[in-house]
């Protein structure tokens, strides 16, 4: 356990001191929020989460998928094999990538929420402190299935391919997953797909908290199914990696 934590600490330091990573995972969503807010400032949002929740969900997608490229690169360059010649439990390496991805998702979501709270056009929300904390906390927990997708990508594709697959997943989850546009604006089939994506679940969780509603059961089922499904597939991919 101590060994796994030592590795986790190194992995966290390694990623957190990388300025490009910080800029992409923390800076980009906040910047997009500010741009949208400035561009559409004269037409206040009508949905409960306003512009904040979709962009916070975008932040969750960006950070959540982070395990993909890192795992892919370190599988391709042999670092994970090198670790397997040490007493570190092999799965500790994969677990650390997921935990570090989650460690970016929390501040990334919180930053969007904080900026929206400060400069946003009221965002249609009337949350107290506890409400803001619940919004950020629950959206963060809802990011879990996206980290499982990231791990699955990193364990299935190596190197450049993992980078490409992550970008593809990002585009699908962003454009198709109810962040870019509500499924209500899509044709039926696409809308059904959109509602079945985990990013839609993250946005739904945020919207329901912002609107003061209870968590929507359908979104929770989607999130749980993705966590279990992608998690199980990632575990299978990992066993294949080990059995080479």
């Amino acid at each position: 356990m101590t060994r796994s934590l030592t590795y986790l600490w190194l992995e966290a330091k390694r990623q957190w001191r990388n300025r490009e990573i910080l800029l992409f995972r923390l800076g980009l969503p906040t910047a997009i929020y500010l741009i949208l807010n400035a561009a559409q400032g004269d037409s206040p949002p009508t949905n409960p989460g306003g512009r904040m929740v979709p962009i916070a969900a975008l932040a969750a997608v960006i950070s959540g998928l982070a395990a993909g490229p890192t795992l892919g690169e370190e599988r391709a360059n042999g670092w994970l094999r090198q670790l397997r010649t040490t007493p570190l439990r092999p799965s500790a390496a994969v677990a650390a990538k997921i935990v570090v991805a989650m460690s970016f998702a929390l501040p990334a979501i919180a930053l969007v929420a904080a900026v929206a709270g400060l400069v946003g056009d009221n965002e249609g929300t009337a949350l107290d402190w506890a409400g803001w904390l619940r919004l950020v906390g629950l959206m963060w927990l809802a990011t879990t299935p996206i980290t499982a997708v990231g791990a699955l990508i990193g364990l299935t594709f190596g190197g450049e391919a993992a980078q490409g697959a992550t970008t593809l997943a990002f585009v699908v989850l962003w454009l198709g997953g109810g962040i870019f546009t509500s499924p209500d604006n899509l044709p039926d089939t696409l809308a059904a797909i959109s509602r079945a994506l985990p990013s839609y679940g993250v946005a739904q969780v945020g919207e329901s908290v912002a609107g003061g509603h209870s968590l929507p059961a359908a979104a929770l089922v989607v999130l749980a199914a993705w966590t279990l499904g992608a998690g199980a597939l990632a575990a299978l991919a990992w066993r294949r990696v080990l059995a080479r």
């Binding site: 030592t6 390694r14 670092w79 094999r81 090198q82 397997r84 010649t85 040490t86 439990r89």
Partner: protein, 306 residues
């Protein structure tokens, strides 16, 4: 050839081990024992099965047939117990990590590690301890990878082509560092395709090609086996390839601009038979094979057969 070793049970054993990748048999019925305290060179040309042998020993690959033992159990147990340190071929390092952090990680994983200072000193990395790995040169990275193999103070050190990317000077310094680390009780297995490296560093040389064991002994024994080889060149006029191939001790026959070149492990016997069966043969030249050439013959002869 094999040497009889009157020593306690080996710490690493291969017993009839075979590993295939699709159509290719990377390791073919290999049996081998490595004793504590030995420095063993695993010598063979590229594609001989050296890396697969190393991976099998470390538990990174599992055999299709046969059994591998490491410190009396399966390799994975010995690795988990921190008894092995390894330097894999071309293994990368995680971007953004500092040299001292990586060494610190490895130290924390092993039960009885070297101190950070000793690890840095052994590998000449003291001035680079705080540098991030992506800012290191190729040679410096190589030293970091050696440091990671040594930092856990393992009983068995496994190095796969550790000097492949280094020039002559850097190779010499590399082996000086390894020698500085190896003392009584520590065992080293390293893979190399350089005979002179095996000769200079190892006290036992295991030659493999095509996944099979070709020779096993002290560097002197292996060199003697390789050095017994010669080439005979003869004018091709009136000589059939078949006749030459069937001469005793002949291993390969090459035709080149009106001459035939034979490699043989017993030039006397080959020439005697040649002059008996083809009394008109002319222009005979006999050359004792140089060390490198002899080694190549030794390995190619087996490695080339499908």
């Amino acid at each position: 050839m094999s040497i009889d070793i009157d020593k306690p049970a080996p710490i690493a054993t291969f017993d009839g081990v075979t590993r295939r990748y699709g159509e290719i048999t990377a390791v073919d019925n290999l049996s081998l024992g490595i004793q504590r305290g030995q420095t063993v060179a695993l010598l063979g040309p590229n594609g001989a099965g050296k890396t697969t042998t190393v991976e099998l020993l470390l538990g990174l690959a599992s055999p299709d047939a046969g059994v591998i033992g490491l410190f009396g159990g399966p390799p994975a147990d010995a690795v988990a117990a921190g008894r092995v340190g390894a330097m894999l071929q071309d293994a990368g390092l995680p971007q953004g990590a500092r040299v001292a952090e990586l060494i610190g990680l490895v130290r924390s994983l092993y039960p009885n590690p070297l101190t950070l200072q000793d690890t840095l000193r052994l590998t000449d990395l003291e001035p680079l301890a705080q540098r991030q790995v992506q800012r290191l040169s190729g040679g410096q990275r190589q030293r970091v990878r050696l440091a990671l193999a040594l930092a856990g103070n393992p009983e068995l050190l496994v190095l796969d082509e550790p000097t492949a990317a280094l020039d002559v000077d850097a190779r010499r310094t590399f082996w000086e560092r390894v020698r500085g680390y190896v003392s009584a009780g520590r065992t080293v297995l390293f893979a190399t395709h350089r005979l002179e490296e095996a000769d200079a560093v190892a006290d036992r040389v295991v030659v493999i090609a095509g996944g099979r064991l070709l020779a096993d002994g002290t560097p002197e024994q292996v060199k003697a086996q390789a050095a017994g080889r010669s080439t005979i060149s003869v004018a091709a006029d009136g000589l059939s390839r078949e006749l030459l191939e069937n001469l005793p001790a002949v291993e390969t026959v090459r035709q080149d601009r009106g001459r035939m070149t034979l490699s043989t492990s017993d030039p006397d016997a080959t020439i005697r038979a040649l002059l008996q069966r083809a009394p008109h043969a002319q222009g005979l030249e006999v050359t004792r094979a140089g060390m490198e050439e002899a080694f190549l013959q030794l390995t190619h002869q087996e490695g080339a057969t499908p």
